[in-house]
């Protein structure tokens, strides 16, 4: 059977397995990824099958994990690092920004930083502090890094393999609140390349640009909007850096209106940059200012009020109202 209904967590697990089978240089490193299979069980069973040299339970040190992965990459390995939660990537931030992102340029293209850093990110799971953050903008801001984010099992299965096969370093942001959602995974037919954004729902009134956990929320909003006679076009970026602007611009030319949705706080964010870039690219097609729906400029709040922080259907529909009301 080539297709199977899998959770996104299991699909990533299988994608990792396939990458490890194909290329003996692929190895995994992270905290609790061996016997435990990772706190989300994404690496479940891999240490048993590939051994401790290829599935490494690392000491509790993120700078160590990423810094050592840089060295392994210099030696021709393809490390896949797991950061246990988004809020724990910061001890490794220096290695990511100063070494992972820059070694290739610094060495005149000699050192291939063919490594992947997997980060379960975003909120919505009722967790305590540091377990619900959206650090993607820091990485998108850093030249030399690619930032991918799958939003369904099929994409996840293929995109993780694509990220591992890439000679560029990839920050692989996994929307943890979607780990347990199932989708058909076709193991024969590769997904479109990560760098292509995908139109998840076609519509002619408003282009809704989004990624991560918000894709699902936007699809719900699109359904609700249809009841009000509005057709939203929901685009899942898949690659947060680089952004597939041709696909976005083509949609904006059709709709003339844009809402950008993500969980991250809005200042100096991926969403803000997309809004600015589309304003430049599509100035003459835009019929309204671009509106963002995001988290707020506050630390991610205690879980009992995270629903009020996260973009939800109401806030997305409000934004749709705003861009629709604007007649120019």
């Amino acid at each position: 059977m080539t297709t199977e209904n899998l959770t996104m967590a299991k699909a990533i697990n299988e994608g990792l397995r396939r990458a490890m089978e194909k290329d003996p240089k692929v190895l995994l490193m992270g905290e609790d990824i061996g016997k435990l299979g990772g706190v989300f069980r994404v690496t479940d069973g891999l240490q048993k099958d590939f051994g401790e040299l290829r599935v490494v339970d690392a000491p509790l040190a993120e700078s160590g994990i990423v810094g050592a992965a840089v060295g392994l990459a210099m030696r021709g390995y393809r490390p896949v690092c797991e950061i246990q939660f988004d809020g724990f990537v910061y001890p490794a931030f220096d290695q990511i920004v100063s070494q992972v992102a820059k070694q290739h340029a610094r060495s005149g293209g000699v050192y291939k930083m063919a490594l992947v850093i997997r980060i379960p990110f975003e909120g919505g799971i009722g967790a305590i502090e540091h377990h619900s953050e959206s650090p993607e903008s820091y990485f998108a801001h850093t030249a030399g890094l690619r930032v991918y984010s799958p939003t369904n099992a099929y994409d996840a299965y293929w995109m993780i393999q694509e990220a591992i096969a890439s000679d560029d370093p990839v920050i692989f942001c996994e929307p943890k609140s979607r780990y347990w959602e199932k989708a058909e995974v076709d193991r024969e037919t590769p997904a479109r390349p990560a760098t292509e954004a995908q139109i998840r729902r076609a519509g002619s009134d408003v282009t809704v640009v989004t990624y991560g956990a918000s894709v699902k929320t936007c699809l719900r909003a699109a359904q609700a909007a249809e009841g009000e006679g509005r057709q939203l076009e929901v685009i899942d970026l898949r690659s947060i850096s680089p952004v597939d602007y041709p696909t976005l611009a083509a949609s904006v030319e059709k709709t003339g209106r844009v809402v950008v949705v993500s969980e991250a706080p809005p200042v100096a964010s991926v969403a803000g940059d997309i809004a600015a870039t589309l304003s430049e690219m599509c100035f003459y097609s835009l019929r309204a200012p671009i509106v963002r729906v995001s988290g707020y400029h506050v630390p991610y709040p205690p879980s009992r009020i995270e629903e009020e922080y996260l973009p939800n259907v109401d806030r997305i529909l409000d934004a749709v109202d705003r861009v629709m009301e604007c007649e120019s």
């Binding site: 305590i128 200042v267 400029h297």
Partner: protein, 354 residues
């Protein structure tokens, strides 16, 4: 690493053992007080675990097995000392006088902190492993500059000992001779990873590399932990600089309520440590040596049950925070983005009565 000698004053059988460097200075009444502390936090911790199972807490990090390490260390603190915990230091919070309900707020998801750190001189839990040790050293550097007669103690685990922040904290503490005590609870596990994944040598040996004393104490022996910590704090307060204590103990429960330890550790290991229980040995000692009647222990258990009930009731009546509170305390001065966010949430109908 189990074979390395450690400071012990009360063995698992509840017999006093002599030590060439340390002597117990506690009276029977004080020892009974420590037993009571341990019994209470164990009981409250079990209550918190069941509250989590019933969906009333998002998560809980049990302290079971580590009561002596925390109560012994906490007892050695003076009111003006300052402590920097990780997320599992409920016993220290108890000794600092923080109401148990306040420990639970963070785990219920109604706050990021839970108490006024300056009031209790106990910082809020630090979840990012290792961060607090550097903050503790900085605080200690402040004490030095103020010429105050105070010490700082910071807590982290065997896993935490691997973090770069811990190394940097030890370097700073060493070169500045800061009045800080690094208290490692080596509970043998960092989630699923054994301590051997963090170090080839006993953790307390690391201290010598930084130029200050390190000691391993039986972390399940409250008498020994108290004496060892007391001396370390006294040294810090009197200008003799930092030290490191490795409390050799064991995490009897799961890492947190989200964890499934059957995936990575063996029942036999738990069995070994069950025989080293920190409460049982004190009880045997008090019964055997001081003729403490069973009724004393029954009363303590009844008190602890009452407190657990209070804790449950308090938790169930905790209100959720107002959504607008997410904008509180982000800055000290007015900030346009805070105002804008607040206005948006009010427009969305989440005004509430702030």
């Amino acid at each position: 690493m189990d074979e390395v000698p450690m400071i012990q004053l009360l063995n698992p059988e509840g017999e006093r053992v002599s030590n060439s460097e340390y002597e117990s200075s506690l009276s029977a009444a004080e020892i009974l007080g420590l037993y009571r502390d341990m019994a209470i936090i164990r009981r409250l911790c079990n209550e918190a675990t069941s509250l989590q199972r019933q969906g009333q807490l998002a998560l809980w990090a049990p302290v079971q097995g580590q009561e002596a390490a925390q109560i012994g260390a906490g007892h050695a603190l003076l009111p003006n000392d300052f402590t920097f915990p990780s997320y599992r230091e409920h016993g220290i919070a108890w000794k600092r006088g923080i109401p148990p309900l306040d420990w639970l707020r963070l785990f219920r998801g109604v706050t990021m902190g839970g108490w006024d750190p300056l009031q209790y001189r106990h910082s809020n839990p630090t979840i990012v492993i290792g961060n607090q040790a550097l903050n503790a050293v900085g605080y200690a550097m402040g004490i030095q500059r103020d010429g105050a007669d105070e010490a700082v103690m910071t807590f982290f685990g065997d896993g935490g000992s691997s973090q770069g922040d811990i190394h940097e904290a030890c370097v700073f503490a060493g070169v500045f001779n800061a009045p800080v005590v690094f208290f490692i609870q080596n509970n043998h596990w960092a989630i699923s990873e054994p301590t051997t994944r963090q170090s080839r040598i006993p953790l307390f040996h690391r201290a010598s590399g930084y130029g200050f004393p390190g000691v391993r104490v039986d972390g399940n022996d409250v008498l020994a932990v108290y004496e060892v910590t007391k001396r370390a704090l006294d040294n810090a307060r009197s200008g003799n600089g930092p030290s490191l204590i490795e409390a050799f103990t064991y995490r009897m429960g799961a890492h947190t309520t989200s964890d499934d330890p059957t995936r990575y550790r063996l029942e036999a290991e738990l069995e070994t440590w069950r025989h080293r229980d920190p409460l049982e040995r004190v009880k045997s000692y008090l019964v055997r040596t001081h003729g403490e009647p069973q009724s004393t222990f029954d009363e303590i258990a009844a008190d602890a049950d009452h407190m657990a009930l209070d804790l449950r009731e308090g938790l169930l009546s905790l209100p959720d925070p107002a959504p607008l509170s997410m904008f509180d305390h982000v800055y000290t001065e007015p900030h346009p983005l805070i105002e804008a966010g607040r206005r948006e949430l009010i427009d969305l109908g989440f005004g509430g009565e702030q």
